[in-house]
Structures are given as structure tokens and as C-alpha cells.
């Protein structure tokens, strides 16, 4: 088939489609969003499979699990922290196993380009004891996804594909292969899928028994390869995923290139690793993310007679993302000569709210209302409005995880903060804000919750929101918030004084208030106009 230029995310999506995917689910999150964007685009054209945004990652995961139970192939994708949200079904899915192929694709964000931490999803695969593929390039992203469905059905287990930002958001050419059809409906066995202790114990033993098969598969995998250098018995490099590219990029500068083991699958290929370790004195482990492989090799006491180097030894940085230049010193190479203009300071240009953004007007009104109180706190959530942290607003004091604004504001209020304010977007509210608001309504906590309804998931490119418009208002009321303390404002410059007055009234109400600020995202309105 013809070469196509694809993002790493899109290569995974195409691999899944051509592996006979029946359904894909996800929640928007950088750098994973483009997997589902691609699936939705193709599904709209072909009507051959389901592709849809879910209300959150836990729901997405469980939907995919249901498809797998029914014998069909499913994919669930999310940003790395989204797997935390889905961790409950994820961990237990290793025990239910997969009936139809089930592939989980978390996209990690080393360097935190657009995230609140840089957790490494390979640890989740290790924790759940399921196989994991880590592609180093676009063709592998495509090929591994196809193979992941095969492995999932062969072992009867969910399989992970671990992506990172630099592959997710890089484009390169991919050569697709002939597509295959979907599975027929075929129910899973209830004794495997009903995790009562009596079944779960047996299923856990089955999972443990399959570990040896996984290691054997890894040793035979086309994605792992060992190249021993007869001339270099001192240094061997073990590199995984895209870190392998950074090593390769620098190899031609070395006079005596080291032995090289490329790793693309987990659990680790034990025979291949032994082959490398036996051949050399020092093993350098180069991996993107946390030092998972390095820690496995070192254990508590290291390998007798061998030196293991990597992130734990300080040869490579423990934080941030790797790059060709970050890897050079660990290979004993000096930095490349580069253009030098002498030192000069450059103004930073952080991301910011668009000119005319409705969130800006909400923050202006909120700041105005809060001037009269000296011990207020605004707990923010995850979305464009988190940019209210930067000048000129400097309006928010926290951002932790999806939904945390509402629960933290409740905790803050109970600790004595007044006014205790939560700021959360419509989609984030649908994702994880309902449950804490249910609790706050039951307790009638003295706090004020802002739901910024801009009718979309703006930060990730305008995906649809489930908790917007009239439905959102009915949801808030349904959770038990008093009707006269659900207020709707329109965040516009001309409404500044009026809005600040509403905010002040609700802050002064002793109990729970919800203020819904409704105005469509400008970017989305523009997009709609352009497409007519």
C-alpha cells in the first residue's frame, strides 16, 4: 500500500482500524487526542466502526472492556494521567482478561509540555503484569498496534502501547498493510469475568502463569534486537522506545561503537539482556521517562562485576525529556559546535488566554468581587482557565487534577477558608466534577463553584462537551443545589459590574452556590463560521 504521512498518534489509530477494530473510546488530552480525532474522522467516512469521546477515561476504559467482553476488538486511548482515572478498571482488566483484542494507549508527556506530571505508563503495565509495546518510530507505532491486537487475543490479556509526546506529535511516513475484518459477537466466560474472590484468585494465578510466555514472546519479538560489537567489550547500550533514536543519532560520532540492544516490548527480553550484559563491562540504559529498565537491571545490589549506568547513576537526567544532545555526554561525546551569539536574555512567551476569551471576563468579574475579602482562595481545575494563573489575571492558586477544584474548595472551606471558590470548565465538570458537587450539595458547604460553560473542550482543540447548556443546568439542580443559588452570568466586558454583584451575593450566601458563566469559546465560534 501507498506511503502516508501520519502523526505517531494517527499511525496507532490506522493500525487499530486495519487490525479489525470494532470500537474506540477516549477522553481528550494532550498528547493523545489525535488518536481519537483520526478514528472519528475515518469512522465518519466509512461507518465501519464506533469511535467516540467518552465522558472520562474510566468510562472510556469500561466501554472498551465491554466491547472486548463481547468478543470484538477495542481500543482505549488517553493522556498518561488519564490512566490514573481509569486505573480501577485497568488493574482488574488484567484479571478478567480480554476476549476480543483490547489495546490501551496512554500517551506520556515527558518534559510536561502540556501536563501536570511526567509519570511513566510503563510502570502501570508492569504493575498490572500485562504486555506493553513501546514504539520508536511511526512504522513501529502502526505495526505494534496491529501486533498488540494479536497478542491480546493470543494471551487473552489487555495489551498496552506506550506513546510519548515526541512520537505522538511527530509526523513521518508509514506504509500500511492490508486491513482485516472485525470479530463476530462472542461472549466472555462469566467465571473469568465475574471477579468475586473465588474467581479473582484463580484469574490472578492464571495471569502469573502467563508471565513466562510474555518473556518468551519478548525474546523472540522482531521489535527487540541485539547487535554485539566484537571490537567493543567495554560498553553496551540498552535503549528503548524513542530513546533508541537519540543513541543512533550520535553513534556515527563514536570511533568504536558500543554493542546495542534495542528494546520495544515489555516484560523485558531476558535472554537478550543477558546476552548484552555478558558481553560488556558497563551497560548504559537509555530510556524515555522514569528509570524502569535501569532499576530492573540494578535491583538492590547491582550485577556482580558489571557497572550499570543511566538515570539513577546520574549519567542521564532524571527529569524532562531526552534529546540527541542530552544523550551525548553519557556516550562520552562533547556537545556539537553550534552557532553562538554570546549570552543574551530572551523574553519568555507563555501560553495565554486568547484575546476576548470569555474566561478573561469571568476572572475580571471574580477579581473585582473578591477585592472586599482578604482571605479568599480560588481552586482551579484543568483547562484553558488554568492560564488565569498568569498575569494580568493571577487569579488561581491551585491546579491538580480533573475535578479537584470542587473537592479542594470543599476541603478548603471546611478548613476555614472564606470565600472558598472553585473554577471548573463544563467538560471537566462532566468528567469529574459531579461527584464532589453532589457531596457539597448534600452538606450545603459554604463555598462558591464557578462552572465556565464555553460549550466545548477548548484546550485540546474543541471536542464536544457532555455537560453544557440546558443539560448542565438540569444536572446541577439534579445534584441537589438550591435553585435560587444556581446563577447564570454572561461573561462580557459590558456585564462586569452586574456579574461582580451576582458573585458577591453568592459569596455572602452562607452555603453552596453555583455560578454558571455561559459564553461560547471564541476559537470554536470562529471555526463554525469558517465551515459555514
Amino acid at each position: 500500500m501507498k506511503l502516508e504521512i501520519l502523526l505517531g498518534d494517527e499511525a496507532v489509530a490506522l493500525g487499530a482500524i486495519q487490525a479489525g477494530l470494532s470500537a474506540g473510546y477516549s477522553y481528550p488530552g494532550t498528547p493523545a487526542s489525535e488518536i481519537m480525532e483520526y478514528l472519528i474522522k475515518v469512522a465518519a467516512e466509512t461507518k465501519a466502526f464506533i469511535a467516540s469521546w467518552s465522558v472520562n477515561e474510566k468510562v472510556a476504559f469500561e466501554e472498551a472492556l465491554g466491547v472486548s467482553f463481547a468478543g470484538k476488538r477495542a481500543l482505549v486511548s488517553m493522556k498518561h494521567v488519564g490512566l490514573n482515572v481509569a486505573a480501577d478498571p485497568f488493574m482488574s482488566s488484567a484479571l478478567t482478561g480480554a476476549n476480543g483484542g483490547l489495546v490501551i494507549v496512554p500517551a506520556d508527556d515527558p518534559g510536561m509540555h502540556s501536563s501536570q506530571n511526567e509519570q511513566d505508563s510503563r510502570f502501570y503495565a508492569d504493575f498490572a503484569r500485562i504486555p506493553c509495546f513501546e514504539p520508536s518510530n511511526h512504522q513501529e507505532a502502526y505495526d505494534m498496534t496491529r501486533q498488540a491486537f494479536d497478542v491480546s487475543e493470543k494471551l487473552g490479556l489487555p495489551v498496552m502501547i506506550r506513546l510519548v509526546t515526541r512520537l505522538s506529535h511527530s509526523r513521518s511516513s508509514v506504509r500500511p498493510r492490508d486491513p482485516r475484518g472485525q470479530n463476530k459477537l462472542r461472549f466472555g466466560a462469566s467465571r473469568d469475568w465475574t471477579l468475586l474472590p473465588v474467581n479473582a484468585r484463580r484469574r490472578f494465578q492464571t495471569l502469573l502463569d502467563s508471565q513466562a510466555d510474555m518473556v518468551r514472546l519478548a525474546d523472540e519479538s522482531e521489535f527487540n534486537s541485539l547487535r554485539l560489537s566484537a571490537n567493543n567489550r567495554s560498553l553496551g547500550v540498552l535503549a528503548s522506545g524513542i530513546a533508541f533514536n537519540y543513541v543512533q543519532e550520535n553513534l556515527s560520532d563514536l570511533e568504536n561503537p558500543p554493542s546495542l540492544l534495542k528494546v520495544g516490548t515489555y516484560p523485558l527480553p531476558e535472554k537478550l539482556i543477558r546476552g548484552l550484559v555478558d558481553h560488556v563491562e558497563t551497560v548504559l540504559v537509555v530510556e524515555e521517562g522514569y528509570p524502569l529498565i535501569e532499576r530492573s537491571l540494578r535491583g538492590f545490589f547491582g550485577v556482580a562485576g558489571k557497572t550499570i549506568r543511566g538515570k539513577l547513576s546520574g549519567d542521564l537526567p532524571l527529569t524532562g525529556e531526552l534529546s540527541p544532545e542530552a544523550v551525548r555526554p553519557s556516550l562520552g561525546l562533547k556537545p556539537l559546535d553550534r552557532l553562538d551569539l554570546g549570552g543574551f536574555k530572551l523574553a519568555a512567551r507563555p501560553p495565554q488566554l486568547c484575546a476576548g476569551c470569555p474566561h478573561a471576563d469571568t476572572f475580571h468579574a471574580l477579581s473585582k468581587a473578591l477585592r472586599e475579602y482578604d482571605k479568599s482562595n480560588i481552586f482551579s481545575d484543568i483547562g484553558c482557565y488554568t492560564l488565569g494563573y498568569y498575569p494580568p489575571y493571577q487569579a488561581v492558586q491551585t491546579c491538580v487534577c480533573m475535578g479537584a477544584s470542587v473537592s479542594m474548595a470543599k476541603g478548603g472551606a471546611e478548613a476555614g477558608i472564606h470565600p472558598s471558590i472553585a473554577v471548573i470548565g463544563d467538560s471537566t465538570f462532566g468528567h469529574s466534577g459531579l461527584t464532589p458537587l453532589l457531596e457539597a450539595a448534600a452538606a450545603d458547604t459554604n463555598m462558591t463553584v464557578f462552572i465556565l460553560d464555553n460549550c466545548t473542550v477548548a484546550m485540546t482543540g474543541g471536542q464536544p462537551s457532555y455537560a453544557s447548556g440546558e443539560r448542565l443546568l438540569r444536572m446541577i439542580e439534579g445534584l441537589g443545589v438550591a435553585q435560587n443559588h444556581i446563577r447564570v452570568i454572561e461573561p462580557l466586558p459590558k456585564n462586569l459590574d452586574k456579574n461582580a454583584q451576582v458573585i458577591k451575593e453568592e459569596i455572602d450566601h452562607h452555603g453552596l452556590s453555583v455560578i454558571v458563566a455561559v459564553r461560547e469559546c471564541l476559537e470554536e465560534a470562529k471555526k463554525k463560521r469558517r465551515s459555514g
Binding site: 506529535h169 513521518s172 552557532l339
Partner: protein
């Protein structure tokens, strides 16, 4: 033969469109390519860049190693300077002189331009003026691509081919404006008498 290019600008200035056109031309000509770009949070008016690598041989890293870039192509003067340390010592800069001011501490434009002029091989383009001449100030990215076209390892006619396919869905007027912007950029670069790498002369602005 290879070419490593850093594309720089501010979110919304059309960096990804430039990358799309060059990458599509490269695929058409059977070149290997990798193109790393920025999505998500930074796109909201922040600094954005794309690493674009073209080669006749296998490309390993998605990121260009610091010290290996042949060219920084920038739609904005401040953003130009953010990436000069990716350039090899004789690397080239093609930069717009039109500032995008959305921060409080934006420096004097002249200060930025004189710093850019310290780079041996530089070309400074009045992209705003040329884009307006082409019919829309939103075509500055295509002006800059036009100014760079003669230095790229892909054919100029392939670039115009993919400019057409990129803007096709927006209608004929938009396609025409972008093609004109590209042509105006090409003409300025041709007239600028820009020095090749081996020549010891200073670069000259096409301002």
C-alpha cells in the same frame, strides 16, 4: 544529503501549515522525513516550533540535535532568536521582521533585528507588507515559505502544488492570495543577493 529546519513562531501563525507544505513536497520526491510539532497548551498564543528533517537517508531522531540545524525559518523576530543555538556554526536564518506582541516585556524590534543581523547568513523579510500586498495579512507564513523556497532541497513547483491542496477547501481567493504571497517571498529572496554558505560575505536583508 539532508536538511534540518527549525520552524518558529507564535501559536496561530501557521507554522504547521508551512511544515505541511514542505513535508508533502518531500514525500512526493521520495525523501525521508520527520517533523516534530507542538500541540495542546502552547498553541494558545505561546512560542511554538517545529523540527523538520528531510534526508535521502534514514532519519533517526524526531528532534534536530542542537548544532545540526541548517536553517531557522521564523515568522516572528523574537521567536527567531529562541532557536539560534540549534544552528550549526554556518547555519542560516530567514526571519520575518514583523513582531507579534502579546507579552508585556516585548523588546524593541530594532534590538532583535540587530541581534539577528549578527548571524552570518541571515535574511530579514517584511512579511506583513508582502502579505498585505498578496491580499491578506494572514498569508505571512506563505511569504516566509516563498522566501525560503530556493534554499530547500525540495522543488519549488512541488511547494506550490501543496499550497494549492492545503487551501483548496477555503476557495479560490484564499488559494490565489497564498500563492501570490509565496511568489512575493520568492522574488524578495531572489533579489536579496543572499550569500551562500561558502562565501565569507555578510548576509543582507531584503527589507
Amino acid at each position: 544529503m539532508k536538511q534540518d529546519i527549525i520552524l518558529a513562531g507564535v501559536g496561530g501563525q501557521g507554522i504547521i501549515s508551512i511544515a505541511y507544505v514542505i513535508a508533502s513536497a518531500a514525500l512526493e520526491e521520495g525523501l525521508e522525513l520527520k517533523q516534530a510539532e507542538v500541540h495542546g497548551m502552547s498553541q494558545r498564543g505561546g512560542a511554538v516550533q517545529s523540527h523538520l528533517r528531510l534526508s535521502r537517508e534514514r532519519i533517526w531522531s524526531d528532534l534536530i540535535p542542537r548544532g545540526e540545524a541548517d536553517l531557522v525559518l521564523s515568522v516572528e523576530p523574537l521567536e527567531t532568536l529562541r532557536y539560534v543555538d540549534y544552528l550549526r556554526p554556518d547555519g542560516m536564518v530567514i526571519a520575518s521582521r514583523t513582531p507579534f506582541v502579546n507579552i508585556r516585556d516585548y523588546p524593541e524590534v530594532e534590538t532583535l533585528l540587530s541581534k539577528i543581523r549578527e548571524i552570518h547568513r541571515h535574511l530579514i523579510i517584511d512579511s506583513e507588507k508582502l502579505a498585505k500586498e498578496a491580499g491578506s495579512s494572514r498569508t505571512q507564513n506563505m511569504v516566509m515559505l516563498g522566501a525560503t523556497a530556493r534554499y530547500l532541497m525540495v522543488k519549488e513547483e512541488n511547494l506550490t502544488k501543496f499550497i494549492k491542496s492545503l487551501f483548496e477547501r477555503h476557495g479560490e481567493t484564499v488559494v490565489a492570495a497564498n500563492l501570490k504571497a509565496f511568489a512575493l517571498g520568492q522574488a524578495v529572496a531572489a533579489a536579496a543577493d543572499f550569500v551562500p554558505a561558502s562565501n565569507g560575505n555578510r548576509g543582507r536583508g531584503g527589507e
